[in-house]
Amino acid sequence: MLKFFGKHALFMVVTLAAVSFLVFAMNEFSPGDVARKELGAYATQEQVELLNKRLGLDRPVAVRYVEYIGKLMTGDLGYSQRYKVPVSGIIFDRLKNTAFLAAISFALIVPLSMLLGVAAGMREGSLFDRGITIFATLAASVPEFAMGVFLASIFVVWLKVLPGTATLLPDAAGWSIPAQLVLPVAVIVLYDMGYVVSMIRASMVEVMQRPYIRTAVLKGMSFPRVILRHAVRNAMINPVTVIMLQINYLIAGVVVVETVFAYPGFGRMMLEAALFKDIALIEAGALVAVFVCVSTQILGDLAYMALDPRIRA
């Protein structure tokens, strides 16, 4: 167990170091960028160089990188030029909003996919199985922005029962926050579920062909009991890592849904930072994103060990 955490902690540190250095070097290799951005297009070259010197940007990248890491350690993430506030002031607020959206979606994706995937996989080739396979393929094939447009044109434009934006603010039309969340959550759940359902189904189909399932059936065990006691637990071993990786997608990948529905989340903040070239915010956001990703990988491995006693070290 100690070895497990040691190995993963090391991988996390190496990944964070590599990513932070790459992002830092890429954005700050040409130091003129920051000062030029601050002073505007009409500043003279002397003014830019003066500000570079004052900000200490004329020193080598390696020196500035070490200094940057030192600042990170004390919790100073820099100053966002796009939002004109310290990065720590905005990033955690947006992360909280995205985590909220992600948590609701995750709470729906996991039980629904397990239910549909197991039900489809336990009778391979049945009508229900084919229906689920077609549904999963279609759901995973439609890009999120297209799904957003399709759902919005039905429920917002045509039926007029839901709002088209989810700003989390009480809006003029009087839509409540739960009503605002319905469409973003629906798009995320449909898109992501298509993928997870097919994974669980494939794993279930494989397990149902194993000899121990046949033995359990032949010894007279009831079918529901065979499914619940023997099949499901074994069928969940492989998909559980995939399911944990969805957290990754839910935190960092929902930028499209956040953009479609004007949701004040982490992904949209990163997009605005990238379009505005807000370097401090991009760097901090990249680190947060990688931290979330590696953490979910570790969680996935832990869940894997809990389900499969053979790999407990």
Partner: protein, 297 residues
């Protein structure tokens, strides 16, 4: 796995292979029997033809705007799918947009396949520290949320077709490398690889002429899946405004420009959305069908 499992189970085992031409004919015959593969193929073929003949069949130039069409921008006899917010013909823009996506996506995926196959072959064939290095670096690239990576890189270097191709090739290569590595590890122990070694063939010859051709099955299936994902990514980048630069038509970009006007003119975003969704569905069905066929062997 399949929509057709019941039928598959009844189909008798195929006779042993005689000659390359007959083998190929049998392969083609088997693909035509598979429903998902044929539906997928038909959809993809439709868009490929649309892309090839866009200059001939598109009724208007893709960027020609006719402001007076905005009086009635809905589908009509002149503009079959209506016009967009600048009075440009949506049908023509969708046909030309097929050209964009069907150029960028295959080149990007081919690039990823080339880099990934090379790295995967090396990792699986040499093993040891080369494998360790390639696999670890791949893990680091894969642990990064792709879309955030695109944003960082495209914000720094600007958006162009070439940048999109490079970014997709680099981020998708580790996945392909992982698949090829797994197959190589298994194939390197085979007799024909041993025989080639005894003949004194070079490592490069063995990797590319002995191992790679035998790994083609899973690679072709993955290629189709990857094309679908890449079509989604290109659409998403266009939608986020960091894709191919305007004004040339790009399905994602068409949606980005018009989805704000959905309450008034929903058709402007619905048609490009339908186009991109159908192409991805085509690629995915093709992949599902090909996988079914290869599993039956």
């Amino acid at each position: 796995m399949t929509l057709q499992t019941t039928i598959d189970r009844v189909v008798p085992a195929s006779p042993p292979r005689r000659g390359a031409v007959r083998g190929m004919l049998r392969q083609i015959a088997r693909i035509t029997e598979n429903v998902p593969a044929m539906v997928g193929f038909a959809i993809v073929a439709f868009w490929v033809l649309a892309a090839l003949f866009a200059p001939v069949i598109a009724p208007f130039p893709p960027n020609a705007n006719n402001m007076s069409a905005l009086a009635y921008p809905y589908p009509s006899t002149t503009y079959w799918l209506g016009t967009d917010h600048l009075g440009r013909d949506i049908l023509s823009r969708i046909l030309w947009g097929a050209r964009t996506v069907l150029t960028v996506a295959p080149i990007a995926v081919l690039g990823a396949a080339a880099i990934g196959s090379l790295l995967g072959l090396m990792a699986g064939y040499y093993r040891g520290w080369i494998d360790g290095l390639i696999s670890r670096v791949g893990d680091i690239i894969l642990s990064f949320p792709v879309i955030i990576l695109y944003m960082i890189i495209l914000a720094k270097f600007g958006s162009s077709g070439l940048n999109i191709i490079v970014v997709i090739a680099v981020t998708k290569a580790p996945i392909i490398a992982r698949i090829v590595r797994g197959i190589t590890l298994e194939l390197r122990e085979r007799d024909y690889v041993m025989a080639a070694k005894m003949r004194g063939e070079s490592a490069l010859y063995i990797m590319f002429c002995e191992i790679l051709p035998n790994a083609r099955g899973p690679l072709i299936v993955d290629f189709c899946l990857r094309l679908g994902y890449t079509t989604i990514i290109i659409g998403v980048l266009g939608f986020l405004g960091i894709g191919l630069p305007p004004p040339d038509p790009d399905w994602g970009g068409m949606v980005k420009d018009t989805y704000g006007m959905m309450l008034v003119w929903p058709h402007m975003s619905l048609f490009p959305c339908a186009a991109v969704s159908s192409l991805v569905i085509g690629f995915n069905l093709l992949a599902i069908g090909l996988r079914e066929i290869s599993l039956r062997d």
